[in-house]
């Protein structure tokens, strides 16, 4: 990875002055990232809550519950971080999750072939249809967002504010306003609440996907072009990148992640939760931005999104166990968000952006 160019021995031919940049060692760069700072904060908070609660907070059951509640938020935050990296926004991720889960649940019930005692004769088909229904709905939702933003050039904030309303409304219409329940309990026992060792399987899924996105951002052409677009859309266009097509793919990808989260949601509760996701999109923005992803585009921190999600979850769980109203969690996360971004503004690390 070391790619420093050494000046040729005859330094006389140096045609560009090299005073502007001092290259810092890798470990120092890693340690001074926002992601590292938020991770440190996570660890400190975790230890404080563990000590303060005298055990219950650090118990296996509680950690599992924290991981489970972080799973869906993480998938949304990671998808949103990619979008932000390209300089576009998405307010509709929570609505996407709800709509996808409603469509998936309705499809499962529609194809179900029940036995009189409530079992399923075609369980694997039902589950497969449910998974496909959730994922495809999520992608279609993302596709619509992408078409509006990338091809019709509607401001992403406006377009997704619109699809947020449309998606939420549609979910209520399809479900008739009541949560869709009665799904096969196997999706909960064999996936939603299943643990792999001590780790909930959905969390494993989310971590694997997050790792994939991390690799995508860091090491692939797709990631590099995403950042190029976010960094300077006109420059990306001029070097020949098909910017609208790329944005469309990104929006579909974020939709797919919301679709995956929606199936995890179903398998967690064996039911949809129509009212449980109204803040999901903003929480995802918070997690991504706390972690160091730039709202203006050009910089994505996938790890930062992970630790940012963790921060919200730890605060939530910790305050509840400490007997403090969880309303304070909202305030605490808000304070951290403003501090993290504010400190960055004032620090010397903030470079003049061209």
């Amino acid at each position: 990875m070391s790619t420093q160019t050494q000046a040729p021995p005859d330094g006389a031919s140096s045609s560009v002055d090299t005073r502007a940049v001092a290259v810092r060692p890798l470990w120092l760069r890693v340690l001074t990232t926002r992601a590292a700072a938020i991770l440190a904060l996570d660890v400190v908070l975790f230890v404080v809550f563990a000590v303060q609660s005298g055990g219950p907070f650090a118990s296996e059951a509680n950690i599992q519950s924290l991981l489970l509640s972080a799973t869906e938020a993480l998938l949304l935050a990671v998808g949103l971080a990619m979008l932000l990296g390209a300089g576009i926004f998405d307010l509709s991720l929570g609505a996407n999750l709800v709509l996808s889960s409603v469509v998936g649940a309705k499809l499962m019930l529609a194809v179900a072939d029940r036995t009189p005692d409530g079992g399923y004769r075609n369980l694997s088909t039902v589950v497969a249809i449910g998974v496909v229904g959730c994922l495809v709905t999520g992608m279609l939702f993302g596709l619509v967002n992408g078409l509006l933003v990338a091809y019709l050039k509607i401001n992403a904030l406006i377009a997704t504010l619109g699809t947020l309303g449309i998606g939420t409304g549609l979910a209520y219409v399809i479900s008739g306003g009541a949560d869709v329940g009665g799904l096969p309990t196997e999706i909960q026992s064999d996936f939603g609440l299943l643990t792999f060792g001590a780790v909930p399987v959905p969390a494993v899924v989310a971590v694997v996907i997050t790792a994939g996105v991390f690799v995508c951002v860091r090491y692939t052409r797709f990631g590099s072009r995403t950042l190029a677009i976010g960094s300077s859309p006109s420059a990306a266009e001029r070097v020949g990148i098909r910017v609208p097509r790329h944005l469309l793919r990104l929006a579909v990808l974020a939709g797919l992640l919301a679709g995956i989260a929606s199936f995890i949601d179903l398998s967690h509760f064996i039911s949809t939760s129509l009212n449980g996701h109204s803040n999901d999109a903003l929480n995802a923005v918070t997690a991504a931005v706390i972690g160091g992803t730039l709202l203006e585009g050009g910089k994505v921190s996938v790890l930062g999104a992970v630790w940012g999600t963790g921060l919200a979850v730890i605060l939530q769980g910790g305050l509840v166990i400490a007997g403090v109203s969880s309303y304070y969690q909202l305030m605490a996360v808000g304070v951290v968000l403003i501090l993290a971004v504010g400190v960055d503004r004032f620090s010397h690390l903030r470079r003049a952006r061209t």
């Binding site: 990875m1 420093q4 045609s15 940049v21 290259v23 052409r221 001029r238 050009g298």
Partner: protein, 286 residues
């Protein structure tokens, strides 16, 4: 100098017909005498009621630096965009690498080996030097990883190092984001990138506009190096003295037409300014 003063008005008499056929073409690069890198012949372009270009011609041979001068509104930007493939001319024809061509996009121009150094450089400030050099032309790993879109940063880094070395550009690091570089360093990266991806011609839009004196000199040296590699260089600039000193030919646009197309050695800055502001043009029109 006195001969130059006489020459300029002479050339003014001729323009519309003969402008694109420079009589003494071999001057700059005897080795590649008749190889046209990029040329536009009698190009016209209208935008609604505005006639941006009427009869603009320009011809850059391989190894030549052609300066494109003109006052604001003379049509330089439109002309450059036509050469870049962004605009399509209403009249006239384009030649790239000795072949008549029609280009409908930047990608077409790039496929023909014509690349541009934009005035704003068009670099992605958050991306590293290496990623900027290759953005849009990324090199992928061999094998299954490559099919999944994984970049071959090692190869990209090596080729970036080679490309920068060839132009005698030294940077402290290729992994720092562009926003950490100085203005001159950014300019150098933008030039190196354009050179890397162009096989016939490099177009430069105001390459010295944002630079100090020393860095401007370095960019001019770069332009000579680029031309020396057998590429045609077309440079749009207001930096008359500096560009005049290194150009082989000078093309001056006045109100959308080529008012002058002569070897740079025959011109002085006052000649250029006089033609740019239309001195002599009004007379011939009257």
């Amino acid at each position: 100098m006195s001969t130059a003063r006489r020459r300029a008005p002479d050339a003014d008499e001729a323009p519309p017909e003969g402008a694109a056929q420079p009589p003494q073409a071999t001057e700059a690069s005897p080795g590649a005498a008749t190889k046209v890198a990029i040329a536009a012949e009698h190009v016209g372009k209208r935008f609604g009621h505005v006639e941006a270009l009427r009869d603009a011609s320009l011809r850059a041979e391989r190894g030549q630096i052609v300066a494109l001068f003109g006052d604001n509104g003379a049509g330089k930007s439109t002309f450059l965009r036509i050469l870049q493939g962004i605009h399509q001319p209403d009249a006239g024809r384009l030649v790239v690498d000795d072949q008549p061509v029609s280009m409908t996009s930047v990608r077409d121009a790039q496929a023909l080996g014509v690349d541009t150094v934009h005035q704003d450089l068009s670099l992605a400030p958050d991306l590293s030097v290496v990623d900027n050099m290759f953005v849009g032309h990324e090199v992928l790993r061999r094998g299954p990883l490559g099919r999944m879109g994984v970049l071959d940063r090692r190869e990209m880094t090596e080729r970036t190092e080679a490309a920068l070395r060839e132009l005698s550009i030294n940077l402290p690091s290729l992994t720092v984001p562009i926003s950490d570089l100085s203005g001159g360093q950014r300019q150098a990266v933008a030039v190196a990138r354009a050179v890397m991806w162009s096989s016939t011609a490099v177009l430069m839009d105001e390459p010295t506009a944002a630079l100090g004196a020393r860095q401007s000199e370095l960019v001019c040296d770069l332009m000579r190096t680029v031309a020396g590699r057998g590429l045609g260089v077309v440079v749009v600039s207001h930096d008359l003295p500096r560009i005049l000193a290194i150009a082989d030919r000078v093309v001056i646009l006045f109100r959308g037409r080529t008012a002058l197309d002569v070897p740079a050695a025959d011109l002085t800055v006052p000649d250029v300014v006089a033609t740019m502001v239309g001195y002599g043009q009004e007379e011939s029109a009257a």
